[in-house]
């Protein structure tokens, strides 16, 4: 029995797999993050301008090797260094070293963005995926490092095409994705209750009523007891999130049935995304659905999870999807 469990465990983490997708993910993900660095540095500059008493330094900033706040001219040096590291990591020059330092810098920027009293949920997953990529086998596929260091006579080998290795890097990313999806679905039931599935909350956000002249709104719930209303007679228990719904979203918001179907579908999809860990065609289907799910969030609510879409699409086994002979 124990040996069976051990075998299953070993197979789950260490079964052989073609590693090329991690090299592709490195290029695509770091390449994208590289082009979004100006936005991150804009936030860093804003943060320097605001009273530092209003900053809540979380775990990531408190233990960051980069001090906060940065003083001039170090911000400028940091920006230049991170741009160079991003370019090196994308191209695959000193791949692991440049990727490692880029990851430290990206964690720092995203942590600053989340130290204003809100939480930047998109980069939460991305930052952790970067950490996995730093040490996962196969990340140097399609790198300049590999091209020059590999003595093989074939171009395929020198690029890392067909490179096979242990799959724990993939699996770790799948586990992280599962956790993020699961908790998103679980939180809706935890805080909103089963009634979240009636579609009213989705309809409210799709209608755009949570955003009014960029004024932050707050809500209370029926579970607030009279004793808990001592601050203001109301008992606020959450803030509302902002969305920039499209015209299509506003039309969907008017259909109660469609909103209920989408709400139920969202919770089921998020909570059962964990089935991705079973592998096989189901994994590909869930990854593609995840990409479609986040693309629809962008088109309907104006919230970008583009790096998530990239991660999901890079990890789909496209050979299997198009019924070509898979490598493994």
């Amino acid at each position: 029995m124990i040996s069976k469990i051990y075998n299953l465990w070993s197979h789950f983490w260490f079964a052989p797999v073609e590693l090329l997708p991690l090299g592709i993910l490195r290029i695509v993900l770091i390449g994208y993050l590289f082009f979004t660095l100006p936005e991150r540095f804009l936030v860093l500059h804003w943060s320097q301008d605001m009273p530092q008493e209003f900053m809540v330094l979380g775990l990531a900033l408190r233990y960051s090797p980069i001090p906060y706040p940065l003083i001039d001219p170090w911000i400028e040096y940091f920006e230049i260094a991170l741009r160079i590291l991003g370019a090196l990591a994308t191209l695959g020059i000193f791949t692991r070293i440049s990727l490692g330092f880029f990851t430290i810098g990206y964690w720092y920027l995203a942590a600053v963005d989340s130290a204003w009293g809100w939480h930047d949920h998109g980069p939460s997953l991305v930052a952790q995926v970067l950490l996995v990529l730093c040490i996962a086998p196969g990340v140097s596929a399609l790198s300049i490092d590999r091209f020059f260091l590999n003595r093989s006579s074939t171009l395929r080998n020198r690029l890392g095409i067909g490179l096979v290795g242990k799959r724990w890097g993939f699996q770790m990313i799948f586990v992280l994705l599962s956790l993020f999806y699961f908790t998103s679905g679980f939180s809706k039931l935890r805080y909103g209750g089963v009634q979240w599935m009636n579609g009213e909350t989705l309809s409210f956000y799709l209608s755009g009523k949570s955003v009014s002249n960029r004024i932050q709104q707050y809500g209370s719930s029926a579970s607030v007891t009279p004793d808990e209303k001592w601050r203001d007679g109301v008992g606020l228990d959450h803030y509302l999130y902002g969305a920039r719904p499209s015209l299509l979203a506003k039309q969907i918001a008017d259909s109660k049935i469609l909103c209920a179907i989408l709400a139920i579908g969202t919770i089921f999809f998020e909570m059962f995304f964990i089935l991705i860990l079973l592998g096989g065609p189901l994994r590909d289907l869930l990854l593609i659905c995840g990409a479609v799910f986040h693309a629809s969030i962008y088109f309907l609510m104006g919230i970008s999870f583009f790096p998530w879409i990239l991660i999901e699409l890079c990890l789909v086994n496209w050979c299997r999807v198009f019924r070509r002979q898979p490598q493994l």
Partner: protein
Amino acid sequence: MQNIILSILTAVLLIPNLLAITFAIEDWPLTPAPMFAHYVDSTTPRYRFVFNGELADNTQKSLGFYSAGANWSLMRYFFKYVYGATPSGGVFAIFESDSADAFSNRLGKFFKSFSIEVEKRETVRLKHIELWLESLSEDNLTHEKKLVGIFDCTTSKFTKSQD
């Protein structure tokens, strides 16, 4: 070697994520993902805060969230880390045993920094700042308003209004 790396990743990534989900801890990058999770419908009461300043020349000035140079997430900071949510707020409720005195102290500290920043940026002299909570109609217009308290810029004290 691979087992060691896997153990380290599990300890550094997976266990903290599981703890954050289980105990509803939000500390970037850990999160139980509470976005859009609280139930809201078109009839749910919604509110907004208004900071109303009185200047030294007795004129009134509405102090927006941007007054301190920050973007609108300042109001999320204000709610979570200064004002405080009721326990049903989950990740937003970080003051387990809150009291009226602790509440006034936190708001006093916040408005002290806020007023200094406003005076610096807008070259004005503030006498006091009123904190109002406004309920919103379905069309996002002010429905009712209630004075939560007043910050005296001279004494740097926040006094909660009596119910």
